[in-house]
Symmetry: C2
Subunit: 138 residues, 2 copies
DNA sequence: GCTGAAAGCATCTCGAC
DNA sequence: GTCGAGATGCTTTCAGC
C-alpha cells in the first residue's frame, strides 16, 4: 500500500482501483499513515537545474575543537542551501548535502558553514546525477 | 510559485488563494511546469524507519580497473536499495545513497555492488538524520 | 497569459457491518 | 478494519479578453 502512495498526487479513487479496496478504506488508511508519521507529507519533485540551483555538493564536516559541544545541526539550520544533514560514523561527524547556484555561492556557503559551526569542511562536488530520489522497493 | 508546489498535495483552489491568481491560471501554470520538466512529479515522503529500512549509508565507489568503460549507473540500476547515484569529482567516481533493513543486508548489498560494477567501495554509515529533503529557499 | 462559469469527479463524513 | 451512499468542494475544460 505504501508502494502506491509513491505516485504522489494520485486520486484516492484510482488508488482504490489499484488496491481492490473501497475508496473510504483507502482514505482512512492514508489518514492513519499520516497520523502515525509513516507518511511525513507530500512534495513536488523539482528540477534543481531549472530552478536556479544547478550545483550540488556533499560537504563533510569535522569539528576544529573536538571538545566543544556538538550542536552543529542547530547552528546550521538557518542555512537554507543545506538540503540534508546526516550524522555519520567515520572520520567526519556530519555529511551535508547542499544546493547552490554557482561555484561562487558554494565558496561563500563553505565559509558560512565553517564560521557557524566551527568546523573544517571537505567538499565533494557532484558532476551529474544519473538518478536520485528513487523509491525503495518494499 | 514553485515555492508553493512544495506543499505537495495542495488543492489548486488553495494555491489560487495564496497566489491571488484565478484557479484556472494556477492550473495552467502547473501544467506548463510539468511539461517543461521543472516539476518532475509528486511523491509522498515516507519515514524510512517505520517502513522497514531504518539503515541509511553512503557508498563511494571507485573502479578496480580504471581502464574499463564507466557504465556503473546502468550496472547498478537494478539494485533497488540504491536510492540515489551521483557522479562526483574527487578520488572516487560515484557516491551512492542506500537504504537497507539491517547491517546484514548492507553487507550483502556491498557485495552485490562490487560484483555488479567491478568497483571498490567505501561506506559511511548514517547514525541519525537531523533533517533531510528540506526545500531549498528560492 | 489571465478570467469566469459550467460539467464532471473526487474527497470526506457517517452510519452500518 | 471495511463498506456504500450522499453532501460538499475541487478539478478541468472552454470561450472570451
Amino acid at each position: 500500500m505504501a508502494l502506491l502512495a509513491d505516485d504522489g498526487r494520485m486520486s484516492f479513487t484510482d488508488l482504490a482501483k489499484e488496491t481492490g479496496l473501497s475508496v473510504s478504506a483507502v482514505h482512512q488508511r492514508v489518514r492513519r499513515l499520516q497520523k502515525r508519521g509513516v507518511i511525513k507529507g507530500f512534495t513536488a519533485q523539482l528540477d534543481h537545474g531549472q530552478v536556479g540551483l544547478p550545483l550540488t555538493a556533499f560537504v563533510s564536516i569535522k569539528p576544529t575543537d573536538p571538545a566543544a559541544p556538538d550542536d552543529a545541526p542547530e547552528r546550521l539550520a538557518h542555512l537554507t542551501a543545506i538540503e540534508a544533514c546526516h550524522s555519520v560514523a567515520g572520520d567526519e561527524s556530519y555529511i551535508l548535502k547542499v544546493r547552490v547556484a554557482s561555484p561562487n555561492e558554494l565558496e561563500e556557503l563553505l565559509q558560512l558553514i565553517r564560521a557557524a559551526a566551527n568546523v573544517a569542511t571537505r567538499t565533494t562536488v557532484v558532476l551529474s546525477t544519473p538518478w536520485e530520489g528513487r523509491r525503495p522497493r518494499l
